[in-house]
Amino acid sequence: MTLARTDHPQRSPAAFRAAPRSGTRHRRARHRKSRLTAWAFALPLVIYLAAFYVYPLYRNLDLSLRRYTVRSFVEGDAPFAGWANFDQVLHDPTFGPAIRNTLVFTLVSIAVQYGAGLALAVFFNRRFHLSGLLRALFLVPWLLPLIVSSSTWAWMLNSESGVVNHALHLVGVSPVDWLGSPHWALTSVIIANIWIGIPFNLVILYSGLQNIPADLYEAAALDGAGAWQQFRRLTFPLLRPVTMVVLLLGFVYTLKVFDLIWIMTKGGPGDSSSTLATWSYRLGFGSLLPQFGPGAAVGNVLIVIALAFGLLYTHVQRRQEA
């Protein structure tokens, strides 16, 4: 960008006027050549993006706009259906609960993950004995395969033999039907998801804290700022760019969480823990007779939501930079 701007004419009109015409042409040719080189460098990336992002997106859109039966799926001659799949999905009794659950799941997960992650990051930022080891231990949820952690949570929350209910029993609380009750199923998967998401927030926020110069705190301390004031007036504002990244990535990651919910509750009982992601999968692959069209339509709704927040993020970021 800066290179291109240096030989822009309005930069130095005097020099431009003095230059002979042939020089301009020469310069223009060189400019074209360097642009070609630039494109050649970008080409692998463009091919990669086309093959792994644009084409699947296109396929998903195509699936959602056609009326697929198993036969037309195999033969590839499904008739164009316009918005019929979207219409069906929007009027499905599952749509309302799925949207609501998706938002509750995502927002509650992110809020608690971020809060806990930030608290832990601040805690670990002051070095003490074993802090490195403890911090490493907090990463464990991130390292475990999701199938392991989800199955373990499902087992711990089991209403009959789960360790959580056993612990509740020991302190005199009556057992909770965590996964089998429509009132608790969503809460249960949110709890498990928060546990899985804290390390991500911790790591990024911790590295953000490391980048805040220590002398700022010294200066603040000299000015008489207490621990809370230091956090509120220094740490939190200086972490804002990192916070934005953590929240957006967290949003996109959480929005599409599928395996955790599927393993723990299958979106049930009823639709009580169905999100758009699990519903999309259930339509496409959950029964013996796949409904690819509506399944893809739900997937696209999910993409649009994520895209909207992505745009919001870039918008906010640009305003911050300006």
Partner: protein, 414 residues
């Protein structure tokens, strides 16, 4: 333009990870195509058997006797149907494929299975109710490799302690009172699987049919009675609440703890039952007012998917014939703990192992889920049925309300 474009690309990138999850990408089925190479591809839903297992050796031997090598892939049963559709779309379906019987009608609907008759496979000796699940418009689209079904396993020790005689369980009332006695004796009643998948419907069907339920009219009194029975068991604490998440495997694990009097489970658990460490027995699932309830047939069909190179069928047929020969069936069904689909082989199975006797009679009385012209309507109905079971048992809805909604949803689907 550029101004707008940049944030757009950035946002697409940020959300790009989503697409891989949401797109029903077609790249899955590739890799093991059966085009020009000499190897014949073979898919089955038995991932538990590795290359050293008897089953894998039998498949390899059948290939060898047909003069080819067989490349076998075992995958999860729910994956198999979807993978088959994707592979057929890509034109690289396997040469021979074992699929769960209710999937057959879906694959036939997709037009990717050959008729057994066209391949020259003889199905005349197979029990009609077993092959019924793979029969559409009078033509069979595969051959059952074996059948299994559901019955009630009981724990003799628990029943004895509670003073219950299993022979006295003739209908739902006697079963429920037996469960109450067991509970009064401090043990647990019955465990089953009411999970929100096909397994949940499979387990519910004996009760549904046992009350005269009709899958095309789910909200009839019969269906409501069956769902009320399950709901009452949960409400009275005769069945655990976690049946809602139980697969048939986890339900079995509950039963195997020795705390439960009854467990609804399949033929395939027989080998585990012997290892359970307590005296067990098997009774047929009772109908509402007595007699044995009709149970759904389980088990896989050997099918030959449609290929572009029709010249491959001759060898595929040889492989299938080898697998379904009586000697091979006897060995296969013993390995899988299934009941053979042929009367002659069944007789031999019972001779070798007398505990199979109640299972043979249960299989004889079993119904295919997709039989009686239901075909691909069954998957739609089944999904609504398990949803209704889940919402009624979790307390969200009444049995009548849940089944009304299921019936409405299934009817509006066509």
């Amino acid at each position: 333009m550029r101004h707008l474009y940049r944030p757009f690309v950035a946002a697409v990138l940020a959300t790009g990870a989503l697409t891989s999850a949401a797109a029903c990408s077609s790249s899955d089925g590739g890799g093991s195509g059966g085009s020009a190479s000499g190897a014949y591809t073979f898919w089955d839903p038995y991932p538990q058997f590795d290359a050293s297992s008897d089953w894998a050796k039998r498949v390899a031997n059948c290939g060898a006797s047909a003069g080819v090598t067989v490349k076998r892939t075992g995958m999860d049963t729910t994956d198999l149907g979807n993978k088959a559709l994707l592979a057929a779309q890509q034109g690289n379906a396997p040469d021979v494929m074992l699929v769960d019987n209710p999937v057959v009608s879906t694959l036939v609907q997709a037009g990717i299975l050959n008729k057994a008759r066209d391949l020259g496979l003889d199905t005349s000796t197979i029990q009609p109710n077993i092959i019924g699940a793979g029969t559409l418009d009078g033509a069979a689209y595969g051959v059952p490799i074996g059948a299994n079904t559901l019955a009630l396993y009981y724990n003799g020790k628990v029943l004895k302690a509670a003073g219950v005689d299993p022979a006295g369980i003739k209908d739902w009332a006697t079963l429920t009172s037996a469960l109450q006695k067991v509970k009064a004796a401090g043990k647990k009643g019955i465990t089953f699987s009411a999970i929100g998948t096909e397994e949940g419907s499979f387990q519910f069907l004996p009760w549904f049919w046992g009350a005269g339920g009709d899958l095309t009219k789910m909200n009839d009194p019969g269906g409501v009675a069956a769902l009320s029975l399950w709901k009452d068991w949960l409400a009275q604490g005769l069945a655990p609440k976690d049946v809602l998440q139980n697969t048939q495997t986890t339900s079995w694990q509950e039963f195997a703890t020795g705390k439960y009097a009854f467990g609804e489970n399949g033929t395939w658990q027989l080998a585990n039952a012997a290892k359970a460490g307590f005296p067990y027995g098997v009774i047929n699932i009772p109908g509402q007012h007595g007699g044995s309830a009709p149970v759904p047939t389980g088990g896989e069909f050997v099918t030959v998917p449609v290929q572009r190179k029709t010249g491959r069928y001759a060898v595929s047929t040889k492989i299938v014939n080898c697998l379904i020969s009586p000697t091979s069936l006897l060995a296969t069904d013993t390995t899988l703990s299934y009941i053979a689909p042929l009367a002659a082989v069944q007789k031999e199975q019972v001779q070798r192992d007398a505990t199979l006797k109640p299972w043979v009679s249960a299989v004889a009385a079993a119904r295919g889920r997709t039989s009686n012209g239901l075909g691909t309507k069954y998957p739609v109905i089944s999904q609504q049925l398990w949803t209704a079971v889940q919402s009624a048992l979790s307390g969200g809805k009444s049995p009548q309300g849940a089944l009304d909604m299921a019936q409405q949803a299934a009817a509006s689907h066509s």
